[in-house]
């Protein structure tokens, strides 16, 4: 299989979807306005009517639409996910992005004509795990967790029968996706079952007298930024804490930082990665436009044998800091 270097771009709203398509996305990914996807955020996502119109728009421009059904239905509520899959299939989406085995099994039987992509939420990080999903449900592509080095990706590529998609830009998740209950522990809303992470309804920013700002989640102060300090998302894994050895307070898990693999693109293409995912369905059209354009130009340059000139995307990154994370070195671990 030759690397196609497809650009997979986020769409949180129909307007953002059109921006991504116009900016040169090979595929867009999106979700419904409910718990069936992992960006179940207030005011975000698509109604079935909006998805119908969006699929028409995308297909008219040669762009694929991937529907995220990548959460884990709690027992007794499966119908919501089945119904979402049926709607997506009826509207002609090009693939479903799934994590739950029950959902995958349902789609494999009910809508065998639609491609299945394995979500990063399934956390398949070894050739054996990936092959399990391929052989069980006919998965055509795996979205790899952001924890592997390029040599490891190259090795996996040799041992699996499906395409590989990796993240190249955006929020840098630290925890194994699909295995994180941190949000539920503090808020009572589950990332796996409800599709939320640090829900806005539980977030409060409190401005202190000296101009510093506290990020509070469900009443816990998970970070405090000085007046001129760059801020990050109010997620537990990006918070500052104290530990017995670290009384000063430190980023116990990760600093507010974004993944940016633009410089590693040629190597990733060479390693056999088929598709590159830009994170950020919760971000604005401005972000989608800027990031998709930059990566479109870079991928086109590389495909044409030119040296890619990556625009500076630092301003769009969390904490205005970027990292190549685990992809560059396993010292990151």
């Amino acid at each position: 299989m030759m690397s196609l270097a497809e650009l997979i771009c986020p769409a949180g709203t129909p307007a953002a979807l059109r921006v991504a398509v116009d900016a040169g996305a090979d595929a867009v990914y999106c979700g419904f306005q409910d718990a069936t996807n992992a960006r179940n955020f207030p005011g975000l996502n698509f109604t079935p009517d909006e998805l119908a119109a969006s699929v028409v728009y995308a297909h008219a421009h040669g762009t694929k639409v991937l529907l995220a059904l990548n959460t884990y239905p709690p027992a007794g509520k499966l119908d919501l996910w089945r119904h979402a899959a049926d709607t997506g299939a009826r509207l002609g989406v090009d693939a479903f992005i799934v994590a739950d085995m029950g959902v995958a099994d349902y789609i494999a039987h009910t809508h065998p004509q639609v491609r299945l992509h394995l979500s990063v939420q399934a956390a398949a990080s070894s050739p054996e795990a990936i092959r399990y999903y391929c052989e069980s449900f006919g998965v055509k592509r795996v979205v790899l967790p952001r924890i592997l080095t390029i040599p490891e990706i190259r090795q996996i590529r040799k041992e699996i029968p499906c395409e590989i998609e990796t993240f190249i830009f955006g929020n840098h998740g630290l925890m194994v996706e699909g295995r994180c209950s941190l949000t539920n522990y503090l808020t009572g809303q589950s990332t796996n079952m409800d599709g939320v992470c640090s829900p806005a309804s539980d977030v409060e920013y409190v401005r202190d007298a000296d101009g510093s700002m506290s990020s509070q989640l469900a009443g816990f102060t998970i970070d405090r930024f000085g007046p001129d300090e760059k801020a990050g998302y109010p997620t537990i894994c990006k918070g500052r804490y104290t530990a017995p050895h670290r009384p000063e307070g430190y980023y116990a898990f990760e600093e507010p930082v974004s993944l940016n693999l633009s410089r590693l693109l040629p190597e990733l293409i060479e390693a056999g990665v088929h598709a590159f995912k830009i994170e950020g369905r919760q971000r604005s059209k401005s972000y989608v436009r800027g990031v998709v354009r930059a990566f479109r130009a870079a991928v086109d340059d590389i495909k044409a044998g030119r040296k890619a000139n990556i625009a500076d995307l630092l301003a769009l990154t969390e904490g205005q800091k970027q990292t190549q994370g685990a992809f560059e070195t396993k010292k990151w671990r």
Partner: protein, 303 residues
């Protein structure tokens, strides 16, 4: 009869501490089944693998059923190999915590561990068709979902297990947070996690105890306590209640659960004893009640 199980030790306890712990469990604890093996960090496994056959023999001699648990995260060569090796074992039973284990095991019988995300009846049905004999549900599941999942699993002839005591696994990562706290990397960790046999406490900026770090794992600060909920769990078809080993008198903890489940001890008295045994740790049951996991919700109608 509802069975009590002892989950695998999540922490890096020394080989000696483990031996002593399991000797006491074998002799004194009223638990029916014991899960052994390293689930969290593959680097720790060599420290206690040598003792494993003796521990299995010791526990089985005492009438306990032993199950070997596989790693929750499988990425490196040694992790893949360890998972593959365990999957080859016919006895004792194995509990699988990663899809790599399911792949290696094929259709031979196995248990589904709490890291496998068996959230619903469709997933459990799929797993049962592939040879699963027993499923441990994810700790964050609320009561109504547990009831539906457990009933479906029972109808398929599976054992159904729910964690009822101990810190809850909230997240796992490729990065070691114990090493990070000490300015090291995972490859150069020098096993600093051994210093925290009940996890390394983290406090929020406003000084609230919030989480525990255990190597690559992040755990709840509070101990899960579903003792008052056990009658409902049993009524909802749950067959096995899991106690996670903490640095407290686990024999006494098991005894409290056994006596309460068997009706020899009132729930009120049993819960008071459990709180005393848990020392400084706060008890929580929020997940079960659909609330924030760290919360302690009073049962509406104690049974």
């Amino acid at each position: 009869m509802t069975k009590l199980t002892l989950g695998p030790i999540a922490y890096h306890w020394s080989a000696e501490a483990r031996s002593d712990f399991y000797a006491r469990i074998a002799d004194e604890a009223p638990v029916d089944e014991v899960y052994l093996g390293e689930v969290i960090c593959s680097k720790r496994a060599p420290f206690h693998e040598a003792e494993l056959p003796a521990t299995i023999e010791r526990l089985e001699r005492a009438g306990k059923r032993v199950i070997l648990s596989t790693l929750a995260e499988v990425m490196l060569k040694r992790e893949r190999k360890a998972t593959e090796d365990l999957a080859e074992i016919d006895a004792p039973e194995i509990e699988i915590n990663n899809a790599a284990g399911l792949f290696a095991r094929g259709r031979r019988p196995h248990r589904i561990g709490p890291f496998m995300n068996a959230y619903n009846e469709a997933t459990i049905g799929w797993m049962a068709a592939q040879g699963a004999t027993h499923v441990c549900l994810p700790s964050e599941m609320p009561a109504p979902a547990i009831a539906v999942a457990a009933r479906a699993a029972r109808e398929l002839g599976l054992g159904v297990e729910v964690q009822v005591f101990g810190r809850v696994s909230l997240a796992v990562s490729a990065r070691c947070y114990h090493a990070r706290a000490h300015g090291r990397t995972k490859d150069n960790c020098q096993f600093v996690c051994e210093e925290d046999p009940d996890g390394m406490p983290l406090r929020s900026r406003d000084e609230q105890p919030i989480l525990r770090v255990n190597g690559i794992q992040t755990q709840s600060e509070s101990y899960l306590d579903l003792l008052p909920e056990t009658p409902q769990l049993v009524a909802d078809s749950v067959t096995h209640l899991r106690l996670m080993p903490q640095r407290v008198d686990m024999v006494a903890v098991a005894q409290v659960f056994r006596d309460a489940v068997d009706g020899r001890l009132s729930m009120g008295e049993a819960d008071a004893r459990l709180a005393a045994l848990s020392g400084d740790a706060r008890l929580s049951n929020g997940f079960y009640h659909g609330a924030a996991g760290y919360r302690r919700i009073a049962m509406a109608a104690p049974s």
